[in-house]
């Protein structure tokens, strides 16, 4: 389990899916293939040697292959794991190609049966028969946890499971407090910290207060950078919300504004913020892995933050 005083320096997986939020053009022009599991695992290992202590990733066949590589190398036991579920982009793409939600649900059911995860199948059947969204969600989460566990050894612990930004923000928009509470209860029952990735941090903090969801018992991943990249509704509102939460439970993402901000500037900005539990940053080259994590390890040192 994570020591709550230890700062999290998580390697993000966006480059392993060829994602650049600043420019699709730039993502396409990359010459290396960081999506190759062996190469991705070697980048993570390099990052760990220079200060990284965790890996956050959307659960997909590709990232599970990376986990298997890390497991073989032995690096996995030095990592805090922060999986993100579901891999929304992949499911949206599949729904588009297969012709909608019912076709996607059918394909997913087949995958579930193939997994032979009897607990998940049972929950899923109950959920499908009663059309119970909470049961269906638990089925899905059980299935994803089993996929992760089957890719690593039994000594590896998943620290937190983060609900994907798209699902978190849909649930926020629709005021689905029951979904958040059900997610928190189920994930906590698996001895995993429930987490939420959001593009609407200030909105989420307000809603959780309204719904009596204890912010001390969750992890929230949200964009924080000094240019306000993806910080809705504004930098000021997000910083204000950060200052009122009771404990450091926030993992800052998009800290480099997808490459627009220099790492030194990003580190200075993040180190000056309260209630930051850690950061997640993607790297696509060995040089970046080494330099970025050395820099953030130094900048996010607990004593350094206290002195700022």
């Amino acid at each position: 389990m994570t020591d709550s005083n230890e700062k999290l320096l998580l390697v993000g997986d966006n480059p392993f899916h060829n994602i650049s939020h600043l420019s699709q053009e730039r993502a396409r022009s990359k010459t290396e293939d960081p999506g190759d599991p062996k190469y991705a695992a070697s980048l993570i290992e390099m990052a760990v040697e220079h200060g990284a202590n965790g890996f956050t990733f959307s659960v997909s066949e590709n990232t599970l292959s990376i986990l298997k590589e890390l497991n073989t190398q032995g690096t996995i036991e030095r990592l805090h794991l922060y999986p993100i579920v579901p891999y929304a982009f992949e499911y949206v793409r599949l729904a588009t190609q297969l012709g909608g939600i019912p076709a996607l649900a059918q394909k997913f059911g087949i995958e579930m049966v193939k997994s032979k995860n009897l607990g998940a199948i049972g929950l899923g059947l109950r959920g499908a028969l009663t059309v119970n969204p909470a049961s269906l969600m638990k089925t899905y989460l059980a299935y994803e946890i089993s996929r992760i566990k089957s890719s690593v050894n039994k000594n590896v612990h998943v620290d937190s499971m983060l609900l994907h930004q798209l699902i978190t923000d849909i649930a926020l928009a629709l005021n689905l407090d029951w979904l958040f509470k059900s997610y928190v209860d189920f994930v906590s029952s698996k001895k995993i910290i429930p987490g939420f990735n959001t593009g609407n941090f200030a909105f989420l903090v307000d809603k959780f207060a309204e719904w009596n969801i204890d912010l001390r018992k969750v992890i929230i991943a949200a964009p924080f950078n000094k240019v306000g990249f993806q910080m809705s509704p504004s930098v000021e509102e997000c910083e204000k919300a950060l200052s009122v939460i009771p404990e450091p439970v926030v993992i800052a993402i998009s800290i480099l504004a997808a490459g627009y901000i220099r790492p030194e500037e990003a580190a200075e900005y993040i180190a000056g913020l309260p209630n930051i539990r850690g950061i997640a940053v993607g790297v696509s080259k060995e040089k970046h892995a080494k330099e970025t994590f050395s820099l953030f390890k130094s900048a996010l040192d607990v004593d350094y933050i206290t002195s700022v």
Binding site: Q24, T96, I101, V131, F203, Q230, Y260
Partner: protein, 334 residues
């Protein structure tokens, strides 16, 4: 408007319907008043999720719900019949339809006539008009930042059906690439340059016989000799998200815009680049991208003020006309 919140319903709870329903639900001056979904499975699921919102299987069941506006986000083939029902049965005065307006120009024209008699606000969801990069590029063009435009090129690409030969049926159900992705390119050309006509066109089938997967065509502005080349495909590798790129050559320089940035290169060597976050891109609620919120907020404001919303049905019907002109002119390569 006399009452505090607009009562808006959404027809079709697929990806786009859910997205608009969510965004509308965060707006203080809007009430998500009803939803309509044809699929029984999806309807049953959403009845549990949206328990406080009336959920029906046929749009006629909106009768008596006292709706102000309806969003139509169903498959393209049903846009016309759903919109016609809403208007003829007076289920709501104001309509938003996801792009393109309808399956063909004949239907679009009929809808334009219906709304002309109806008097409500009508709008079609051509999203790039609400992307800060395209908004900035339009502003620069209007300010003659590159002088007089001499030529333009538009690429609209996605990987939705890259290397997927067995998916012709699904590709066809989305109306072909011209309706799906090409309509964005055509709307951008109309928005930036005004009335245009088609000079030549070529259609390629890549997912199966008779499918429309890649289209190249040339356009010419009606008022002068400005010409442009457009390439549209949903079978290109490396496009995780659909992307539209517009490049305009002018007498003083070149203007390039895509979903992520705008760049201006002048003949005198001066160069400027604006990324999204340089262009005040944040909105009150982020879902799918800030342009969706901006688009919905604009429609809601237009309804509240009862003012013209663009792109209106009339504007969007020109896209449908051009699509038919391209299809008629095209050489086919199966």
């Amino acid at each position: 408007m006399s009452r505090e919140a607009l009562r808006i319903a959404v027809v079709g709870l697929g990806k786009m319907g859910l997205l608009h329903a969510c965004i509308l639900n965060t707006m203080p001056n809007v009430q998500l008043a009803a939803a309509c979904e044809k699929s029984l499975v999806t309807r049953k699921l959403f009845k549990k999720i949206l328990s406080s919102v009336p959920l029906v299987g046929d749009v006629r069941e909106f009768s008596g719900l006292d709706l102000d506006a309806v969003y139509i986000t169903t498959p393209i083939s049903s846009h016309f019949s759903v919109a016609k029902t809403v208007l003829q049965e007076r289920l709501a005065r104001h309509l938003f339809i996801e792009k393109p307006l309808t399956s063909n120009y004949h239907e679009s024209k009929e809808l334009c006539e219906l709304v002309a008699n109806n008097g409500g606000v009508n709008m079609v969801g051509y999203l790039r008009r609400f992307m800060v990069t395209f908004m900035k590029a339009k502003e620069l063009l209007s300010q003659s930042a590159i002088g007089e435009p001499a030529s333009f090129a538009i690429n609209a690409f996605s990987s939705d059906f890259y290397d997927m030969r067995e998916y012709a049926e699904v590709a066809a159900s989305r109306g072909g690439v011209l309706k799906d992705l090409g309509s964005y390119a055509i709307d951008a050309a109309l928005w930036f340059f005004g009335s245009i006509q088609v000079n030549s066109a070529k259609i390629e089938s890549l997912t199966g016989a008779g499918s429309e997967d890649a289209v190249q065509f040339t356009l010419q502005r009606e008022s002068d000799n400005l010409q442009g080349a457009v390439s549209v495909s949903w079978c290109i590798k490396g496009y995780r998200m659909p992307e539209v790129v517009l490049s305009i050559k002018g007498t003083k320089g070149i203007l390039d815009v895509n979903d992520d940035k705008v760049s201006l290169k002048l003949n005198n060597g001066d160069e400027s680049i604006w990324y999204r976050h340089n262009l005040n891109d944040n909105v009150k609620f982020w879902l799918g991208g800030p342009e969706y919120y901006r688009e919905d907020a604009y429609f809601v404001k237009s309804v509240t003020n009862n003012s013209l919303a663009e792109p209106s049905f009339e504007t969007a019907s020109k896209v449908d006309l051009l699509i038919e002109m391209i299809q008629r002119k095209a050489e086919r390569h199966d």
